[in-house]
C-alpha cells in the first residue's frame, strides 16, 4: 500500500515540479470563470426553475474543458516514462503492473478533481448570495460533483490507455482526444432516437455521456449511469494493464 501511495505522490508531484500543472490549472480556471460569467449574465435578475449547476452545464463549457484538458493531463503518464527510459527502472522495481496502472490513473484523477475546485468556489459564492434555495442546493452540488468524478474516471482511463500505447506525448494527447471526442459525439445519436424504443435508440441513449451528465446536474443519481461509467473505466484500465503487460509477451 505504501508503494502505491509513493507512486501516486510521484505522479502528482510531476505535475507541480514543472510549469505543466500550473498552466493546465490556469487554463481551466479561465474557462470555468468564463462559463460562470455566461451563467451569471444569463441568470441576471431572472428567476429560473433549473438548478444553477444545470445551467452551467448547459453552457457546454464543461465538455470543452473535459475534452481538451483530459488528454493533456494523461498524455505524459506512460509516454514520458517510456521516452525518458525511467519506465525501465520503474518496471524492474518490485512493483506490480496493476500498481503502476492504478497509481497513474489515480494521480491523474486527483489532479483532475483539483481542477474543479474553482467551480466549487464559484458555487459557494453564488450560494452566499442566493441563500439556501432550490436553485443551488447541497444535493445538486453533490450529485454534480459525483457526475464530474464519474466522467473524470472514464476520461482519465481513456487517456492512460492512449498514453500507454506510445512513447510520444503528442501522439498520446491526440489519440486520447480522438477516443474521448468520438465517445462523446457518438452520444449525440440519442437526439435522433427521440422516444423510439428499438434497441438501437436505447443503446444510443445509454451511451450518451451528455444525457447521463445532465441528470447528475439535475440532482438525479442514476445507478445505471454509475455502472456505465465505472464499467467503461474498468475496461480501459484493463486494456491499459494489457498494454503494460504486453512488453513481457511481445
Amino acid at each position: 500500500m505504501s508503494v502505491f501511495r509513493a507512486l501516486v505522490r510521484r505522479e502528482l508531484s510531476a505535475f507541480f515540479q514543472g510549469p505543466t500543472g500550473f498552466i493546465i490549472i490556469a487554463a481551466v480556471m479561465f474557462l470555468i470563470g468564463l462559463g460562470f460569467l455566461v451563467v451569471l449574465s444569463g441568470l441576471n435578475g431572472e428567476a429560473t426553475p433549473m438548478p444553477v449547476t444545470q445551467v452551467f452545464y448547459g453552457t457546454y463549457f464543461f465538455w470543452v474543458i473535459l475534452l481538451l484538458i483530459a488528454p493533456v493531463i494523461t498524455m505524459r503518464s506512460f509516454a514520458m516514462e517510456r521516452a525518458s527510459g525511467t519506465y525501465e527502472s520503474l518496471m524492474t522495481a518490485p512493483v506490480g503492473d496493476w500498481q503502476v496502472v492504478l497509481s497513474k490513473f489515480a494521480g491523474a484523477l486527483i489532479f483532475y478533481m483539483i481542477l474543479w475546485v474553482p467551480l466549487l468556489i464559484c458555487s459557494v459564492v453564488v450560494r452566499f448570495y442566493v441563500g439556501e434555495s432550490a436553485v443551488l442546493g447541497l444535493g445538486t452540488m453533490f450529485t454534480s460533483a459525483l457526475g464530474i468524478l464519474m466522467v473524470g474516471c472514464l476520461y482519465m482511463s481513456i487517456g492512460c490507455f492512449a498514453s500507454a500505447l506510445t512513447r510520444n506525448q503528442a501522439v498520446a494527447a491526440v489519440s486520447g482526444f480522438a477516443l474521448g471526442a468520438a465517445l462523446f459525439f457518438t452520444g449525440f445519436f440519442s437526439y435522433f432516437a427521440g422516444d423510439r424504443t428499438d434497441w438501437l435508440s436505447q443503446l444510443a441513449r445509454h451511451i450518451s455521456l451528455a444525457n447521463h451528465m445532465e441528470s447528475f446536474t439535475r440532482g438525479v443519481v442514476d445507478l445505471g449511469a454509475i455502472v456505465f461509467f465505472l464499467s467503461l473505466t474498468g475496461l480501459f484500465l484493463y486494456l491499459t494493464h494489457k498494454v503494460v503487460e504486453s512488453r513481457r509477451w511481445k
Binding site: S2, V3, R5, A6, L7, R9, R10, S13, A14, Q17, G18, S84, G85, T86, Y87, E88, S89, L90, M91, T92, A93, P94, V95, G96, R247, R248, W249, K250
Partner: protein, 311 residues
C-alpha cells in the same frame, strides 16, 4: 545466482539473442562483453524481468524471471542502459522514492539513503535537482539507486559509458568495493573496463555466446603481437621476418629508413628474445621492441575463427 539456459529473443525477424546459456555464482563479478548490438542489454533486460524471452529459461537466485518476476525484482538492483533518471526530482527525494518502491522500512530509509549517497560520493549534491547534475554525478545517482536495497544481484548496463577518465576510475573503484558483498553483472564493450573489475567474462557476439570463463584463460587464446622496428633495407627485412616464423608478419617501411614489423600469431613468452637475437645477429639497429596485448578486437577475431574452423 544466475542460471540462463538456451535464451533466445526475437524482435520480429531480427534475432537479438540466439540460444545463450551461462551461469554466475554468488559473489562473482562478471563482465558482459561484446560490441554494440551483441545482445548484452537484451540479456540484462530479460534477467531484470523487464521483458520476456522468446524461448529458454532464466533464473535469478533460483526464481524464474518469467514466473516469479516479483521475487526476482526484490533480489536485484538494476541500472539500465544510459541510466534514465527523472530530471525533475532532487537526488535525495529520488532515492527516497526508490527506497519506498523497494519496500525499505520507513525508519531505515533516511539512514540507508545517506549511506548509499556517501558510498557513491553524492552527499554534496543531495539537494540538487538531478537535471542539473553532470553526467558523472547522474551515473553515481543511478548506482546509488541500484545499491539501495542491498540487493543480492547488482546489474549495471554500461556503467562507464560517456564518463571521463577520472569518473571511470571512481566508478571502477565503487564496483570493486561491491565485489565481496554482492554478485555483480556489468556490461561493457571496452575490454580494459572489464579486465580491471571482473573475475569472469561472458562474451557475446551477434546474439550468440562466444565464450565464457576467466578473462586470463580467454586472453591466452587471443593473439598477442610483437612489434619491432629495425633499420635495414626492406627486402632483407621481409625475408628475415619470414625466417623468424612468428605467425603472420606485416612489414612496412618507414620514411626515416626504419622498417616496422608486426608479428601476430604464434607469440609466446620468448618471442621478443628471439626477435632481438635475430636482429642482433645481423647487426641491425633496433629502436623498438614491444609486445602488444590482445585487444577485444583480437579476442573476437580469434574466437570467431575458432568457432568457424571446425565447420
Amino acid at each position: 545466482m544466475i542460471d540462463v539456459q538456451h535464451l533466445t529473443k526475437r524482435y520480429g525477424q531480427h534475432v537479438a539473442l540466439d540460444g545463450v546459456s551461462f551461469s554466475v555464482n554468488a559473489g562473482e563479478v562478471v563482465g558482459f562483453l561484446g560490441p554494440n548490438g551483441a545482445g548484452k542489454s537484451t540479456t540484462m533486460r530479460i534477467l531484470t524481468t523487464f521483458m520476456a524471452a522468446t524461448s529458454g529459461t532464466a533464473r535469478v537466485g533460483g526464481d524464474c524471471v518469467f514466473e516469479q518476476p516479483d521475487r526476482v525484482r526484490e533480489r536485484i538492483g538494476y541500472m539500465p542502459e544510459n541510466n534514465p533518471l527523472p530530471l525533475d526530482l532532487r537526488v535525495a527525494d529520488y532515492l527516497g522514492f526508490r527506497a519506498e518502491l523497494k519496500r525499505l522500512a520507513k525508519r531505515k530509509t533516511t539512514g540507508r539513503v545517506s549511506e548509499v549517497m556517501e558510498q557513491c560520493g553524492i552527499e554534496d549534491v543531495a539537494k540538487r535537482f538531478i537535471g542539473q547534475l553532470s553526467r558523472g554525478y547522474r551515473q553515481r545517482v543511478g548506482m546509488a539507486d541500484a545499491l539501495l536495497a542491498k540487493p543480492e544481484l547488482i546489474v549495471l548496463d554500461e556503467p562507464t559509458s560517456g564518463l571521463d577518465p577520472n569518473q571511470v576510475r571512481s566508478v571502477r573503484r565503487l564496483i570493486l568495493e561491491l565485489a565481496g558483498e554482492h554478485t555483480v553483472l556489468i556490461s561493457s564493450h571496452i575490454l580494459s573496463e572489464i579486465e580491471m573489475t571482473c573475475d569472469r567474462v561472458v562474451i557475446l557476439h551477434e546474439g550468440r555466446l562466444l565464450a565464457s570463463g576467466a578473462l586470463n584463460d580467454l586472453m591466452a587464446k587471443a593473439n598477442a603481437s610483437v612489434i619491432a622496428e629495425v633499420q635495414a633495407p626492406l627486402p632483407e627485412v621481409q625475408q628475415w621476418a619470414a625466417e623468424l616464423a612468428l605467425g603472420q608478419a606485416e612489414v612496412a617501411g618507414q620514411p626515416d629508413g626504419y622498417v616496422r614489423c608486426q608479428f601476430a600469431g604464434a607469440i609466446d613468452g620468448s618471442a621478443r628474445e628471439r626477435v632481438f637475437a635475430a636482429a642482433n645477429e645481423r647487426g641491425w639497429p633496433l629502436r623498438e621492441l614491444s609486445r602488444r596485448a590482445p585487444s577485444l578486437e583480437d579476442l573476437f577475431v580469434s574466437l570467431t575463427q575458432e568457432r568457424e574452423e571446425p565447420q
